[in-house]
């Protein structure tokens, strides 16, 4: 097992409970582990939520953290993945001055080449949306920043694993 720190993506299937976010983030906070990104959403199973958390740590500590997460009563199952184990995406939104769209022809090319999308345009501003890997988003940010960005925001990572996560069969076993 590697003792080097690396990026792990944690997938946690949980009951939909108000306090659980607090409980899970406290596990990281208590051990002084910075959460790189965190996303919560519904999962493929009805009434089951899914957390996707990205952290940078050693695999040994990752395993211990997974144990602590699974120990929480309302956590159904937690998995951790390396970068190679998953398909992942993030998305981001830029708000920029509308004038740029006509004055700076290059912006149109950047949008096209980066597979970004113009969501809306009005008299004052336009909004660009882009989904992709972190590096692609960072590249787009660098390219657009020279023109002046009015607002920028980026989502946490969302990811699916290449291998099956046997969560549905587990949940069936819970039915009684």
């Amino acid at each position: 097992m590697s003792t080097e720190k690396q990026l792990f993506t944690v997938s946690i299937y949980t009951e939909n409970n108000i306090g659980l976010l607090n409980r899970i983030s406290a596990i990281f906070q208590r051990r002084h582990i910075n959460i790189e990104s965190l996303n919560t959403s519904p999962s493929e199973i009805e009434s089951v939520s899914r957390f996707t958390i990205v952290v940078n740590m050693t695999e040994e500590n990752m395993k211990k953290i997974i144990g602590q997460i699974e120990k929480q009563v309302e956590v159904i199952k937690a998995y951790y993945h390396t970068e190679e184990d998953i398909i992942y995406q993030e998305s981001c939104i830029f708000k920029m001055k509308s004038g740029l769209l006509f004055d700076e022809r290059e912006i149109q090319n950047i949008i096209k080449e980066s597979n970004a999308r113009i969501v809306t345009v009005n008299r004052d501003f336009f909004v660009i949306e882009k989904s992709g890997r972190k590096e692609e988003i960072e590249l787009l940010y660098r390219e657009l920043s020279v023109f002046g960005i009015m607002q920028f925001t980026r989502s946490g990572r969302i990811a699916v694993s290449k291998e099956e996560m046997k969560i549905s069969t587990m949940l069936e076993a819970f039915q009684y």
Binding site: G19, K64, I76
Partner: protein, 577 residues
């Protein structure tokens, strides 16, 4: 039940009871078999207290003098009986005062349900009077917690609370109930909780791991067991004894495991850890197989991890998968309930005796006896020792008493020297080290097991942290025997200052009040002992008392607890002086 209204439903003939949320809370407690609960009233919990008044012939509410005392009493109740302890408090400061006891119960795996009142739901988040986010505050120190804002949720949440608190690795649960939910009426129906789909209380025991463990035990030449509270919590005492007797394994205990088998059992080789016995600490680093049962390798047990039993193979019997490989890597992990696992492994074990290996423990015990134990228990120099007081209690109780200790030097001495014949007899704050735990915990223990002798042993520091619970003892007529070993110091901190801070006794010397006068102020029998000649007779008088009794023993001021593993040192570098 004179207040409930029974209404007939129009279509079917089934009767449901329409009752208030607050009555439902009390009815849930009765359904769970709760006979005693500890608490303190206040605005946001008053509707429940009104119901407790109505149900007082069925459930006994004990008024503590501080909510922290209520939690420790509930813990003492749980620890001696194995049942869930219950504490109740109002919102705001009432709720936050529970936190120390909850944290203590969490780290020592004590089943406890805490009920807190909360401001009405429309006031939540408005900084209302006595509003505090107790669910948020208690999250890191509870096994589970929940806020209820609708009366109809009360039965299910309460059932779940009790189930979670006592199942698997036990722990504290907090249920926060808004005042409007307490007033709201609904159709009450109770169903005990038998499972939560996201929660596996006891992991499956793999027979392959049991077989692998048996193979290691059968092959070992120098095996050693370290057991913890898991043996007690899973009621595995008999199965445990059968295993160690068959395989002839010397067995040591963590502070939380004490009393699971009698002190006098020939395979009981004493306590491990910072102030544990010499032989099991030293030989941890010589055994070829370390068998950990229901314990979690706390740092006070292991000392320096890099030099802890590195020569040995390790088997870890454990109910909580998160404990496996957390601190010490296990070669074989046997997940599951200790009792079931031990019963499963018993037929696979070969009979063994390991006489030479046992002799090593005896030899090291002889050294410890000469250097430490003799002078602790049978001192000849002036000044009473804590050890001789425990020795007198042993003589008088014949090992039948439950010893409830606080935290500090007296706790280490009590755990080292108290003799136990029965399980669940050593009640102390192990993981959190909560000064002030002892006195209120003794109240709970005595009330859960009134037929047992319960002796509370505290130092002069910790005693004063919850001294107000003398009022509870007086009001409840709880026949607790209270011993304060007074050295006019915060003794353990002073010992560290002496050893590691060049005797700079910063804020450890105590100017104490007249403890006997205070006890008498609460109308308790009380006595002070300053001379060795009086000790035996005074302890005998205390133990013979049918009522609560307070005994202050003025012990030597600067006595130290040895052996000792300094922080960061290896277990085998344990110091005898």
């Amino acid at each position: 039940m004179d207040t409930k209204t029974i209404k007939k439903e129009a279509v079917n003939t089934q009767t449901t009871e329409c009752i208030s949320g607050s009555e439902a809370i009390v009815r849930c407690l009765l359904e769970e078999g709760v006979k005693v609960l500890y608490g303190y009233p206040g605005g946001a919990i008053m509707p429940v207290y009104d119901e407790l008044y109505k149900f007082q012939d069925k459930i006994h509410h004990v008024l503590a003098r501080h909510e922290q005392g209520a939690t420790h009493a509930a813990q003492g109740y749980a620890r001696i009986s194995g049942e869930v302890g219950v504490a109740i408090a109002t919102s705001g400061p009432g709720a936050t005062n529970l936190i120390t006891g909850i944290a203590d119960a969490q780290i020592d795996s004590t089943p406890m349900v805490c009920i807190t009142g909360q401001v009405a739901s429309h006031l939540l988040g408005s900084d209302a009077f006595q509003e505090t986010d107790i669910v948020g505050i208690s999250t890191p120190v509870t096994k589970w917690n929940c806020q209820v804002t609708k009366a109809s949720d009360i039965p299910e949440v309460m059932a779940k609370a009790f189930y979670i608190a006592k199942s698997g690795r036990p722990g504290p649960v907090l249920v926060d109930i808004t005042k409007d939910a307490q007033f709201e009426e609904f159709d009450f129906k109770y169903k005990k909780c038998t499972g939560v789909r996201s929660y596996i209380p006891v992991p499956k025991t793999e027979m392959a791991s049991v077989a692998a463990a048996a193979e290691l035990i059968n092959a070992a030449k120098k095996p050693m067991v370290v057991w913890g509270q898991g043996v007690i919590l899973s009621k595995a005492e008999e199965a445990f004894k059968a295993v160690i007797e068959k395989a002839g394994i010397p067995s040591a205990w963590t502070i939380m495991g004490a009393s699971a088998i009698p002190t006098s059992h020939p395979l009981n080789i004493g306590m491990v850890g910072m102030h544990g016995n010499y032989a099991p600490n030293v030989l941890t680093n010589q055994c070829d197989l370390l068998i950990a049962i229901g314990m979690r390798f706390d740092d006070r047990v292991t000392g320096k991890l890099d030099e802890y039993a590195t020569q040995a193979k390790v088997i870890h019997f454990e109910i909580d998968p998160a404990e496996i490989n957390k601190n010490v890597k296990a070669d074989v992990a046997v997940l599951g309930d200790a009792k079931a696992s031990l019963e499963a492994i018993l037929p696979l074990l070969n009979k063994n005796t390991h006489p030479e290996w046992h002799q090593k423990f005896k030899d090291l015990y002889a050294i410890e006896f000469e250097k430490v134990i003799k002078d602790d228990l049978h001192p000849t120099k002036e000044g009473l020792t804590m050890g001789e007081v425990i020795n007198q209690i042993n003589i008088q109780s014949k090992g039948e008493a439950a010893i409830v200790s606080d935290v500090g030097q007296h706790q280490m001495i009590a755990c080292r020297y108290a003799k136990f014949n029965q399980t669940k007899s050593n009640i102390t704050s192990g993981g959190l080290g909560t000064m002030g735990f002892g006195l209120p915990a003794a109240i709970g223990a005595k009330m859960a097991r009134p037929e047992r002798e319960v002796v509370s042993i505290s130092g002069d520091g910790g005693y004063q942290m919850t001294i107000q619970e003398l009022g509870t003892i007086f009001q409840q007529k709880a026949a607790v025997k209270i011993v304060v070993l007074n050295n006019e110091f915060l003794g353990m901190v002073r010992q560290w200052q002496q050893l590691f801070f060049d005797k700079r006794y910063a804020s450890t010397e105590m100017t104490n009040p007249d403890f006997v006068a205070i006890a008498k102020g609460y109308y308790l029998n009380a006595r002070r002992v300053t001379k060795r000649e009086e000790l035996a007779e005074a302890v005998a008088e205390m133990m013979a008392s049918k009522e609560a009794y307070f005994l202050e023993v003025c012990v030597e001021k600067e006595g130290n607890v040895f052996p000792m593993i300094p922080t960061g040192a290896s277990v085998s570098d344990i110091r005898l002086e």
